[in-house]
């Protein structure tokens, strides 16, 4: 015959066992969530010339996951990153998302390197209803119109364009010139740029075009010189950008040069221009506040270096770190009883400061899922890049 005490212990044990069994069954119901791990997928370029947008950013994500796991994981679950190569190609990106969702059965995705590939994958992500945090792609079309599954921690192209105008105004520019590529990449930035200028009643003194294959920009430099522009907003890749600056230098022009993240590394760009002092007034936006040489991110940089000794260190590592910290914060906020809806609810109004982003990441569902509205401005200072300011958009 059982005593009262033994009865209580038996009932308690039964209840605990039932709760554990329920929890396990629940975890098994949610794709990518097990008792002791959460599988997170990532897609982006792992190979080819655009590997830095994908592979290096993922390295940053993995560094955060490793640190979180060392500290016990998220609500007791270790984070596992599953990588897929989209080769910067939309069709491959769609296949990568399908593989992550249906074969790898990941819980959520953090990724997106090349914008065109991520744009291609957007319908599949929405169809599969999988939470997705964008870490590097900048095209506005990825997050607009707002989709409940997709949030971006990267400064998007329209944010960059608006920031370029703000930077020029902040620097006291009176005559602003625009030099842009009119391909698909350039047009997605040119249009919001011109809209922002119009909104502020600013008419560019010259509005010029270059192509990525131009080897001489004497024409553009002559027109800029005769316009008396004191700031140039560049919507250009590094190659035409370097060609333009060489031509400006030839004509003795030295305006403020405001680029976009297509020229992400001002130190490398200065070497490409290869003319001393020609890039003294050159700045480019960055989603992150630091560069890998800054002491503030030393711990992270050493961790990445240790984990991926064969990969170069890059600003993209820092972007991955910031983005992963946002995801981890949302996963923690979603609680131990994790579901995709809870993660999305946590992302919807998240407000988090990271170790690398220039400003607070604030998602404002359903108005905007472009959560990083604060680009930093960086320029070359010898062999280092330094942050020269931060633009906070309203």
């Amino acid at each position: 015959m059982l005593t009262v005490g033994k009865t209580i212990v038996a009932i308690g044990t039964l209840l605990a066992g039932a709760a554990l069994a329920f929890n396990q069954a629940h975890a098994q119901d949610i794709p990518g969530v097990a008792k002791d791990e959460i599988r997170i997928g990532s897609f982006g370029s792992l190979t080819g010339p655009t590997y830095l947008y994908g592979k290096l950013t993922m390295n940053g994500v993995e560094a955060v996951f490793a640190k979180v796991n060392e500290q016990g994981g998220v609500n007791g679950r270790k984070l596992v990153l599953v990588r897929e190569d989209d080769r910067c190609d939309p069709a491959t990106a769609i296949a990568a998302v399908k593989k992550l969702v249906f074969e790898e059965k990941v819980f959520a995705i953090i990724g997106g390197g090349c914008s065109n590939a991520t744009l291609g994958a957007r319908p599949e992500i929405i169809k599969d209803q999988i939470p997705f945090v964008v870490f590097a792609s900048v095209a506005d079309g990825i997050t607009e119109p707002v989709a409940k599954e997709i949030y971006s921690t990267m400064t998007t192209s329209s944010i960059e364009s608006r920031s370029q105008v703000q930077y020029a105004v902040d620097k006291g520019a009176k005559k602003i010139a625009v030099v842009s590529q009119h391909d698909a990449w350039g047009q997605s930035r040119y249009e919001p740029l011109m809209a922002e200028l119009k909104k502020r009643n600013i008419t560019p003194v010259v509005d010029l075009e270059m192509t990525v294959d131009d080897n001489d920009a004497t024409v553009q430099a002559l027109k800029i010189a005769s316009s008396g522009a004191d700031a140039i907003i560049m919507v250009l890749y590094a190659k035409p950008g370097a060609v333009l600056i060489r031509a400006l230098n030839k004509l003795g022009q030295n305006p403020v040069l405001i680029a976009q993240t297509a020229i992400a590394d001002p130190v490398a760009f200065t070497k490409e221009v290869a003319i001393p002092d020609a890039t003294d007034k050159f700045v480019t936006p960055s989603a992150v506040r630091y560069t890998p040489t800054d002491p503030e991110v030393k711990e992270w940089v050493e961790r990445v270096k240790k984990m991926f000794p064969n990969d170069e260190l890059s600003i993209f590592n820092l972007m991955g770190i910031g983005s992963a910290q946002v995801l981890v914060a949302a996963l923690k906020a979603a609680g131990p009883d994790l579901t995709r809806d809870k993660l999305l609810a946590a992302l919807a109004h998240i407000k988090v400061d990271t170790d690398t982003y220039a400003g607070t990441i604030v998602c404002n569902d359903p108005v905007s899922h472009q959560c990083n509205q604060t680009p930093a401005w960086i320029k070359a200072a010898g062999d280092k890049a330094e942050v020269v300011g931060v633009t906070k958009l309203n």
Partner: protein, 293 residues
């Protein structure tokens, strides 16, 4: 007036490079009656080879130029021997497709060998990049080096064509391959030299151009199209025509950008191709179009 002078200088410098590439296209076309669509990519490979010698191995620029030209000569000869000779009997379409295939192979090779160093690779300038004044016009010494180099290569090539036995054999073969064979000219060997020399010229253009631009695996195609426009404008079969056509394309680009709009600068060469093909298919220096009856 000052603007015109700048545009003239810019157009001539760019045009000289188009002329060099157009020269290679024309040489091969004259001999094979086929357009070598890999010519721009052979140019690109020449630039990367020079980069390897000059930047990675630290050899002097002139030595790198000569080695790149030599390598281009060997690549052109190998391409003819391996890919094109077997296809010559199968018609022009086969050769055309082979040149497109070679173009992709060269791009892939460049990505595999020189990729991963950044999107665009800088080639150090040969002279002080500070501009110098010529009668009030500011020019960078690099521009003058490019122009002088291009003119020198053209002069060497013209002399080779006119004064050497091989040059004359190439001309004879280009004019009438069957007749050349009948009089004992080793036509197969002449074809090898034709591709080799065409590629060597492309490589010399690449080494001259590299310091004023940045290298990347896709640099060849657009340059090829613009130079092809120059070759078509010159008549496609005329060596002087290729030079004049290339220079004109450079000038048209500069002047249209300067006096019309930068929006039309890039497309002006395509407009020229269309115009010439429709209204003047024999080009400026090409012979009358003959029809076999």
């Amino acid at each position: 007036m000052m603007m015109f002078a700048y545009l003239l200088a810019s157009g001539i410098t760019t045009g000289a490079l188009y002329a060099l590439v157009a020269l290679g296209i024309t040489v091969v076309y004259k001999a094979t009656k086929s357009v070598n669509f890999a010519h721009g990519d052979l140019f690109m490979i020449g630039g990367f080879i020079a980069y390897t010698f000059h930047v990675m191995w630290g050899l002097p620029y002139v030595v790198s130029l000569l080695l790149a030209v030599g390598a281009g000569f060997a690549i052109g000869a190998a391409a003819e021997r391996i890919a094109f000779r077997r296809l010559r009997e199968q018609g022009l379409v086969s050769i055309l497709l082979a040149t497109i295939g070679l173009s992709f192979i060269l791009k892939g090779t460049a990505r595999a060998v020189w990729g991963g160093k950044g999107d665009f690779i800088p080639f150090p300038p040969l002279a002080n990049p500070r501009p110098i004044s010529f009668g009030g016009i500011l020019l960078v010494p690099q521009q003058l080096i490019v122009l002088a180099g291009a003119l020198a290569v053209m002069a060497i090539f013209a002399a080779f064509f006119k004064f050497t036995k091989l040059g004359r054999m190439m001309q004879a073969t280009a004019d009438n391959a069957k007749a050349a064979k009948l009089v004992g000219i080793p036509v197969n060997r002449v074809y090898v030299y034709t591709f080799a020399i065409g590629t060597a010229i492309a490589c010399s253009a690449a080494v001259l151009m590299a310091p004023i631009t940045l290298l990347y695996p896709d640099i060849g195609f657009v340059l090829f199209i613009k130079s092809f426009a120059g070759a078509v404008l010159g008549g496609l079969t005329s060596i002087p025509g290729a030079v004049v056509g290339g220079l004109l394309i450079g000038l048209i680009e500069a002047m249209s950008g300067g006096y019309i709009s930068t929006n039309v600068q890039d497309v002006s060469s395509y407009i020229v191709i269309m115009f010439v093909l429709v209204f003047m298919p024999q080009g400026l220096f090409g012979g009358a179009v003959l029809r076999r009856v």
